[in-house]
């Protein structure tokens, strides 16, 4: 300390201090920006900087019309900052995005982008801000799930819109909850995490990841176990049953009545 106090009035002291200050500021700034860059490129470790770059290119060409340059949103579409990779993987992976036409709800259609392009788009959106990431395989393994628990969770949380047999149902103003047969486990999980369209969001504090897996296991079991008791008539409940008795049932009856009362001539 003595040396420092002796040297502080040295003519070069001001220069040294300035240098030190510049170095520190520059170094900190460099460190800070490199931290930011690191976050951007490896938010989930799976993505590389080139994925993000390629994703941005795809985004500008296909999505920016509605979601805006830099995905900050416009009158036609919401901001995607913080939407997360899971939302992109769901919306683009199921063909809902890019939207074919505007309407009450984005319709499912054959996916427009392949898996790699979808991943790149997801990487770009994930780079914009933290959000739900694409689920890990361990939470998608239906064989690990508890189907009866999954069934209870499904009936409590999902069946009011999606129907007890996951056959889908109507919402207001032309919106609807789709049928869930044939939906990939990954997409079911992502839908729960991100709440696409009019679906509420079921984050991990609401339904933990393990419980989500149970629900997936229940749905997959419903598909694989077959339909007890014959044709399910769309699993729509009493309406389709009533329709069948008034159509096929009545036609069979009338046919046999006409036959029984016809004269042999």
């Amino acid at each position: 300390m003595k040396a420092l106090s002796q040297q502080r009035r040295h003519p070069l002291a001001a220069v040294a201090l300035l240098l030190l200050g510049l170095l520190l500021t520059g170094g900190l700034y460099a460190a800070a920006t490199s931290v930011n860059e690191a976050q951007a490129s490896n938010v989930p470790d799976a993505y590389s900087a080139s994925d993000v770059e390629e994703g941005e290119r795809l985004f500008v060409a296909n999505c920016a019309t509605c979601h805006g340059i830099n995905a900050v949103g416009s009158d036609a579409g919401p901001s995607l900052v913080g939407a997360g990779a899971a939302a992109v993987d769901f919306q683009v992976g199921t063909g809902r995005m890019p939207m074919q036409m505007s309407g009450p709800q984005a319709q499912e259609k054959p996916a427009q982008f392949n898996d790699e392009q979808t991943m790149q788009l997801a990487a770009y959106v994930a780079s914009l801000g933290a959000g739900p990431s694409v689920p890990e395989d361990e939470y998608l393994d239906a064989s690990e799930g508890d189907i009866s628990r999954g069934g209870e969770l499904f009936r409590i949380n999902c069946a009011m819109c999606h129907n007890a047999a996951a056959a889908g149902g109507a919402l207001t103003e032309g919106k609807f909850a789709p049928a869930l047969a044939g939906v990939e486990s990954k997409h079911i999980y992502e839908a729960m995490v991100t709440g696409p369209q009019n679906m509420p969001e079921f984050n991990d504090s609401n339904i933990p990841a393990d419980d989500k897996r149970d629900i997936i296991a229940f749905l997959k079991n419903n598909e694989s176990q077959g339909v007890p008791g014959g044709f399910a008539l769309g699993s729509l409940g009493p309406v389709s049953e009533g329709l069948l008795i008034w159509t096929l049932g009545l036609v069979l009856l009338i046919g046999s009545m006409v036959w029984l009362t016809s004269r042999s001539s």
């Binding site: 009866s148 007890a164 079991n221 008791g229 069979l252 029984l260």
Partner: protein, 575 residues
């Protein structure tokens, strides 16, 4: 006491002859043995010779009877396993997605019936499809009776019995629907609970009385079970017996046709042909139901989960015959503009809420159900018709009734259809809100449009009938007359068809008449008004004079003789 009754009907010798009678064949000996002990001869003589006219539309009542029998038999099978208890248990049967789930005994045994009892699922589905068919057959049967005017004197009371059967059938269906105690049926019960509680003042008490406390409680399933397997089936059986007895007393109605009058019945006797046909038809109905039960799932109760008042599921609907209760509730708005329809009625004990959005929808239901019961009397009052009717109306020949019936059917259809408003929205890519708005419009406009359109169609068909009687059917052959005129040949209908086309009653308007005091009462005025709606537009049947006049036209036209001569030549060349 007349002296005649003291004289013996048969002599002592005749009695001993009967006692000593020895039939020659084995069948004869058996039937004689039975006859001497139960006296079947009289029954067979009375019922076996009962004549029934043969027409396919007369068989819906039979379908109802047979599907009821099948439902009773399959239901008896279900009672061997089903335990109507709301006691809690943990499911450990073979349906994996329910294992370990806590549920009532009722639901657990319903699952056991579906998955662990051999043939149980088939029998459950047979029972349920049978119930749907039972009510459907009753409904179609009633429509046939209504539109052909078979409910008129002397059959008004039997129509009332039939209406009671329909209501009992709805009761049987609804109590059965509620038994498995899964979320679907629980929601149905919740709606009934809501309807009961909406009754001002006493509603809550009635609900608590039915459920043994606050909904859902743990008593309602056993209570519904007693109603479902004992009380209601007994009522239905008794009503069926009365219904059939009255059919025998009244004799069956018949469609108009040559040789058919108000004094006879043209058809086959029950024994042996008709009995064989009817017996065979039981098995046809059984076959149709077994086909449905074997091929199509009904009430997949394993999907719905054990009842819990919190979850409600998309696609929750009642069975078809209760659908209109649900639908009319969906149609009713809770607010009109900004004005809420629910309000609190101030009472000394603190106020009772009046749930108009639930109460108002009960009005059309009550009107339709009550209207069904009183229609025969109402129609007789409007028309002033006091005659017996055993020959049926062709619906077109009673335009007023047919149009009114169609109007009520459309009204019912709108309410019924509203119960599936959500499925209309999803399956036809519509907005649920729009579907409801359109159905609300149709609720008011539909019956009026149906009345007008149906009446016009009936009158048009009657005019077509007149045209056929007077000019014959268009033969599709264009003839050129010697002077160059083209015209279409018409074939006259034969006498049998002619009879059917001209032999019907066509009442005229009966204006309001003053009563004994010489005054025209308000009631009489409204009767006359309704009578005018019924009969003011009228197409009279072709009279004898008109027909003869039309025939004489034929004879003046020489060309009509030409084809006749040609066909006569053809006939003679064949021989």
């Amino acid at each position: 006491m007349s002296t005649q009754s003291l004289e013996p009907k048969y002599t002592e010798a005749q009695y001993s002859e009967v006692d000593q009678y020895q039939p020659a064949t084995r069948t004869g000996r058996i039937s004689n043995y039975v006859d001497q002990r139960v006296g079947g001869t009289g029954l067979v003589r009375e019922f076996g010779r009962k004549v029934f006219p043969d027409h396919w539309t007369f068989m819906f009542g039979e379908v109802a009877l047979y599907s009821f029998l099948i439902t009773v038999v399959s239901g008896a099978f279900l009672t061997f396993w089903f335990d109507p208890s709301m006691a809690s248990t943990q499911y450990d049967g073979s349906y994996a997605p329910m294992q370990g789930v806590e549920m009532s005994m009722a639901y657990a045994t319903a699952l056991e019936l579906s998955f662990d009892v051999r043939g149980g699922l088939f029998m459950r589905q047979l029972h349920h499809w049978g119930a749907l068919m039972f009510v459907m057959a009753m409904a179609v049967h009633m429509l046939r009776v209504f539109f052909t005017g078979a409910f008129r004197k002397p059959r008004e009371l039997n129509w009332v019995v039939g209406c009671a059967l329909l209501v009992a059938g709805l009761g049987a269906g609804f109590t059965g629907y509620s038994l498995p105690d899964e979320v679907l049926s629980g929601n149905g019960l919740r709606i009934i609970d809501g309807m009961l509680k909406a009754i001002p003042m006493v509603g809550t008490y009635i609900s608590f009385f039915l459920f043994g406390g606050e909904f859902p409680g743990d008593e309602v399933i056993p209570r519904l079970y007693s109603l479902h397997i004992f009380v209601i089936p007994a009522v239905i059986l008794i009503l069926i017996a009365v219904h059939l007895f009255m059919v025998v007393v009244h004799k069956h109605t018949q469609y108009p046709g040559p040789g058919r009058t108000e004094r006879n019945v043209v058809g086959y006797p029950i024994g042996p042909v008709y009995a064989a046909k009817a017996g065979g038809f039981l098995f046809v109905v059984f076959g149709v139901l077994a086909l449905l039960a074997g091929l199509f799932q009904i009430n997949a109760l394993w999907n719905y989960g054990p009842y819990d008042p919190s979850p409600v599921q998309a696609g929750t609907q009642p069975d078809w015959y209760i659908g209109w209760f649900d639908g009319v509730l969906r149609l009713m708005p809770g607010y009109i503009g900004d004005i809420p329809l629910e309000f609190v009625l101030p009472t000394p004990w603190g106020g009772n809420s009046v749930a108009l959005p639930v109460l108002i929808p009960m009005i059309p239901i009550t009107v339709l159900l009550l209207g069904l019961f009183v229609w025969p009397f109402l129609e007789a009052w409007i028309t002033g018709d006091k005659k017996e009717h055993h020959v049926l109306d062709r619906p077109r020949n009673a335009p007023g009734r047919t149009a009114f019936g169609m109007a009520m059917m459309v009204w019912y259809f709108v309410m019924w259809g509203a119960a599936s408003s959500d499925l209309m929205a999803t399956h036809f890519s519509l907005s649920l809100n729009d579907v409801i708005i359109w159905l609300r419009v149709l609720f008011f406009l539909g019956p009026i449009l149906a009345f007008i359109i149906t009446k016009r169609i009936c009158l048009a068909l009657q005019r077509k009938d007149r045209e056929i009687v007077l000019h014959g059917n268009e033969a599709g052959v264009i003839e050129m007359l010697p002077h160059g005129e083209f015209r279409e040949k018409h074939n006259r209908v034969n006498d049998y068809e002619l009879f059917t086309l001209v032999a019907y009653e066509s009442p005229e308007v009966t204006p309001a008449r003053p009563n004994a005091k010489g005054k025209v009462s308000l009631l009489e005025k409204s009767r006359a008004g309704l009578n005018r709606v019924f009969f003011e537009d009228r197409v009279a049947p072709v009279s004898r004079e008109e027909y003869l006049e039309a025939l004489s036209h034929d004879h003046h036209e020489s060309s009509a003789a030409l084809p006749a001569a040609a066909s006569a030549q053809l006939e003679s060349s064949k021989h």
